[in-house]
Symmetry: C2
Subunit: 349 residues, 2 copies
Amino acid sequence: MTTIKDVAREAGVSTATVSRVFNNVGPVDAETERKVRLVARRLKYVPNALGRGLSTRRTDAIGLLLPDLFGEFFSEVLRGSDQTAQQAHYHLVVSSSHNNREEIRAALTMMRGRVDGLVIMSPHIDAETLNENLPQSLPVVLLNCYVESSGFDSLNIDNYGGAHAMTEHLLSHGHASLAIIKGTEGNFDARERLRGWADAVRDAGITPDDRYQVPGNFSEASGYEAAQRLLALTPRPTAIFACNDSMAIGALSALRDAEVQVPREVAIAGFDDVPIASYLTPALTSVQVGIHNLGVKAIETALHAVRNKNAHKKQQIVFPTSLVLRESCGCNISSLTNHQRQSIVPEGR
Amino acid sequence: MTTIKDVAREAGVSTATVSRVFNNVGPVDAETERKVRLVARRLKYVPNALGRGLSTRRTDAIGLLLPDLFGEFFSEVLRGSDQTAQQAHYHLVVSSSHNNREEIRAALTMMRGRVDGLVIMSPHIDAETLNENLPQSLPVVLLNCYVESSGFDSLNIDNYGGAHAMTEHLLSHGHASLAIIKGTEGNFDARERLRGWADAVRDAGITPDDRYQVPGNFSEASGYEAAQRLLALTPRPTAIFACNDSMAIGALSALRDAEVQVPREVAIAGFDDVPIASYLTPALTSVQVGIHNLGVKAIETALHAVRNKNAHKKQQIVFPTSLVLRESCGCNISSLTNHQRQSIVPEGR
DNA sequence: GATCTCTATGTAAACGGTTACATCTCGTTA
DNA sequence: TAACGAGATGTAACCGTTTACATAGAGATC
């Protein structure tokens, strides 16, 4: 592997000059530059990222800590993140499947020194763990984490508002017995969505029935199971709000297997508005959160922090949500094609 | 940020000893070790990855180059990769959305020096580009790339076999007019699947109709459009083989909008067997490729190469596929629940 | 022609580790 | 008791860059 020294020797200049050429910094004679570039190309020289990083204390990489790479949600977050990072000529170091505090801690220390900034998406994180395991100077962006500290930039989805609005919408269809398929126990999103649902139900003058609140874990399988459980109840609920689209998909599948018509007999709505939602049968009504944008914004925030050496004012941003009404909730728009269906969004809340 | 020198000074030993302690190498007195670890913990010392990497010429990271992070397929590959890398205490540097040769070239050089090995999944790669832009010593695993050289480890899906088998299966349902929704132009997978389909059709004594081979690009939207185009034909095909599940999902959606019964009027099958396939309406018959395993195996191969300093014998592995028969192809198993449905696989081909 | 600027370049010290080699101290053996 | 071997530790070179500082030469200014 050729180093800067090889290039310097071959071009008859010092390493400093080669460095200047490759970083476009300081004055370099045009002729010298030409010569250096020529030699570099001939020797296939590429500056070593480690050496450079050690010297500059920059890595040109952003770390991305995710809870579990499952389904379309994370795929979309990642896509947005990757695009944004790449545009800024940054790398993405991805680490996932951290399902408890100890694993997170390990991942955090592993990341130290490898990245210039960190985007963390994990329900199992708290300010103390962060402060314990990360240098103060490392920019951190919390994505959908419930951390009370205002010492970090954070991005959150308006879980409460979205769930509340969707529940109101289902109520507007005349449903009186609303059920919810809850998200993973202890998860912040799950809790907030449940709260939004419960408040909306109560606001409508209905007392939430405990039996109508069945557990789930954000997977299709759990949605399937939850729906089966709901169908066994008497009286059977006439509308189901699933705390994410994956579970809604599972639920749809269970209802079909039980030969229950959706939305005629039971209406369904999800959360996230994953890309395939509009292609389902029936097309899934969902709460749109702009997942892709979430990834984009997270990286942008991290990069901003990196550029300001983390001395900027930290922001807590809440991402607004909007309802995307399709068929599964009972909106009578079955004559539209999918493409049109995708754009039907109720006026702003 | 505390360095090894700080720890050494504070513990009253040399940096060499501290290094020995943290790498479990060479003899160190138990008492000394205790003291060093204590000081290290107190100072919150974490070895710097860059310094270490520069010295050892290892980065403990594997690069993953993907064409486009879209949908469930890549999400699954990534999940398998990440799990495997993490178990081996390696990091994953992900880079995606490389849709032409120049972008690939740029990504390859960016990765140089940052990773110990590289997993490349890209239709736009060739042996020359690889040899030009990568040092001979860097382990490379090609995932689903069409590269004629045997100088690299490679993993390929049995695209031809899978498509052939699925087409045969559709034919066994008595369909005489089979259509195909093709994958992205120029894509290796797409080409092989088309070839498998065409051969199976011909083997059945049918001459493939050009109008029944409509273009697609592996996205839901393109599947939707392609199906619409097929429905407009007379005679209308009675079975459609979509070159991946995303397009099959789009097609299903189009057929429903056109009020065409699946599988009664038109049968459909996909390729990939993404996780949600079994939750669709009707449940999607697909060619299973074990996407998750693909990621696992790719990283395992890369790690093996890293450990052997890339001096091992390169392997070209073809991943077998299997059919997963559900409802959309017309198999009469509608009385089963989803869970059972998932496990119905025909005897080995 | 001395002084001052400005440009172009070189020198060498970091950056944070690892590791070959040297050194020192003991306990063991002939 | 001298020689030896093994264990514990230190010394310093090295990995590939960047960059503060030094230096040299060429015009420009007085």
